[in-house]
């Protein structure tokens, strides 16, 4: 039963809610209350834009329990516009190949689902190819 853990971090997981350092302006994700840049206390909430680029990626052909439904899928290190790098699944690729440097944007999707359709559905961030006309 992992529900409490999922529930506690839902804000950062649903919407890339992190922190900004009041001393040096560094943007922090995931939130950890201490600035990795200057070491100062950083508890100010910051909403990331969700825009970024693919820094590196790998295609998964095997998955941990609860994630098999989406196989095969790509997992990427995404460099956010504001600086931090996050690990996340890529989605909505269609027949587009993944490329380093590809512009992506955050979307909230189902990230795991108990196979018996009895448990809680876990939602969280993934990234998809950026929709070009969105400004």
């Amino acid at each position: 039963m992992e529900n409490p853990r999922h529930w506690r971090i839902r804000k950062q997981r649903y919407a890339l809610v992190g922190e900004v350092c009041p001393h040096c302006e560094a943007k922090i994700f995931p939130p950890r209350d201490v600035c990795p840049n200057c070491g100062g206390e950083a508890k100010t909430q910051f909403n990331f834009s969700g825009k970024g680029t693919v820094f590196s990626f790998t295609v998964m052909n095997d998955a941990p329990a609860g994630y098999e439904k989406n196989l095969p899928y790509a997992v990427a290190l995404v460099k956010l516009e504001e600086g931090p790098i996050v690990t996340a699944q890529l989605t909505d690729l269609g027949d587009q190949p993944v490329q380093i440097g590809m512009p992506v944007e955050m979307v909230t999707r189902r990230i795991r689902d108990d196979g018996d359709e009895k448990g809680i559905i876990v939602y969280g961030y993934k990234f998809r190819p950026a929709m070009s006309s969105a400004q």
């Binding site: 649903y14 919407a15 439904k69 989406n70 909505d92 909230t108 189902r110 929709m131 006309s133």
Partner: protein, 353 residues
């Protein structure tokens, strides 16, 4: 009979709106190939299909974010997040709770799921107008979204699609489109239903056209126009619930509208029937191109049955704000064709045991 039209105590309107249509398309030719040996053509060209990791919650979150971007407001100002759908992911646990948390609304909100077949979204919109129009709250969000499914081989396989739109209702002085009134017409009509615990719906063939769809849309549209003293030519656009291409065209004709007035909001040919999302995503396509002063009639239809009719006038605030989020046409253009096998996997039609 007077007093049929719902009017708000204070002027209200649409502050922000946002569409969402998933990426995948199932062409009618694929449904025909599998079920009719390629001989059927289907009532739409193709339909939008949600991906494996999408559902009414994820799709509502994206539409809601688009609506907030156009409203240029903080989600914490919302007093309600209401989602109308017939495909809520949970039977018990409101879709609105997850959507509200994901967009940064709450906890001081109303949040509930609305159900009335394909008019669940416009029913939520009437409620949002009432909440803001009464002065009990300044901003309320109403969403109509579905991941509709037909029984394999049923005619609904051609059209049952995924998509919808979100609307933020607020004070008229900040609105992109001002609300002039709405009228709802509801009767007990057994045209289409799904019993609890059944995966797919049933329909009473004889009831779907005349006594259900056309009767309710025409009665609702006619009554609203009579009460407001308007005629078809006063509107630049009209949007009707669209289970296929022909029904809304014919409903428009019955109410005196030309194809020109209907075509901008008629998306069924290219995305299918998005059920609770259909009339609302049609309206979002209209708002994407409407000019200040344009008048819009919207009439939804939900089986069971009922229709909600709305009258809107676009304001000059539309031009600066409509480009703050992807347009409905951007989602329609983002298109990856899939075959029937991929569709069956995406929509859980293969039982893995």
């Amino acid at each position: 009979m007077s007093g049929r039209v719902l009017k708000s105590n204070r002027p209200v309107g649409i502050i922000g709106y946002g569409a969402y249509i998933p990426r995948y398309r199932l062409p009618a030719s694929e449904v025909s190939r599998v079920w009719e040996g390629g001989k059927g053509s289907g009532p739409v060209k193709e339909k939008a299909v949600a991906g494996l990791d999408e559902d009414v919650i994820t799709m509502s979150i994206e539409a809601a974010r688009n609506a907030l971007a156009r409203a240029q407001m903080d989600a914490s100002l919302l007093r309600a997040v209401w989602v109308g759908s017939e495909s809520h992911p949970y039977a018990v646990k409101p879709t609105g709770t997850v959507v509200a948390e994901a967009i940064g609304a709450g906890p001081s909100i109303e949040a509930a799921d609305w159900e009335f077949a394909c008019k669940a979204g416009t029913e939520a919109l009437v409620a949002a107008i009432s909440l803001v129009g009464s002065g009990m709250g300044d901003y309320a969000m109403a969403i109509g979204m579905d991941t509709a499914q037909g029984k394999p081989g049923d005619q609904l396989e051609y059209t049952a699609a995924s998509g919808g739109a979100a609307y933020i209702v607020g004070p008229a002085e900040n609105a992109l489109a001002v609300f002039n009134g709405s009228y709802s017409y509801v009767t007990d009509t057994p045209d289409f239903w799904r019993r609890a615990n059944q995966k797919y719906p049933e329909h009473g063939q004889r009831f779907t056209g005349e006594p259900a769809y056309f009767k309710h849309i025409v009665e609702a549209g006619k009554a609203l126009m009579e009460e407001l003293g308007t005629r078809a030519e006063d509107y630049r656009f009209a949007v009707f619930h669209q289970p296929n291409t022909k029904f809304p065209q014919r409903a428009g004709q019955l109410l005196g509208f030309s194809d020109e007035q209907i075509k901008t909001g008629l998306l069924a040919p290219v995305i299918g029937n998005t059920y609770a999302g259909a009339a609302l995503v049609g309206l979002s396509a209209v708002l994407d191109v409407a000019q200040p002063g344009d008048r819009i009639l919207v009439v939804s239809f939900g089986s069971g049955a009922g229709s909600d009719a709305f009258d809107w006038v676009v304001t000059d605030k539309i031009e600066a704000r409509r480009n703050l989020a992807p347009r409905t046409a951007d989602y329609i253009a983002r298109r990856t064709e899939i075959d029937y096998a991929t569709y069956a996997r995406f929509r859980g039609k293969i039982d893995m045991g």
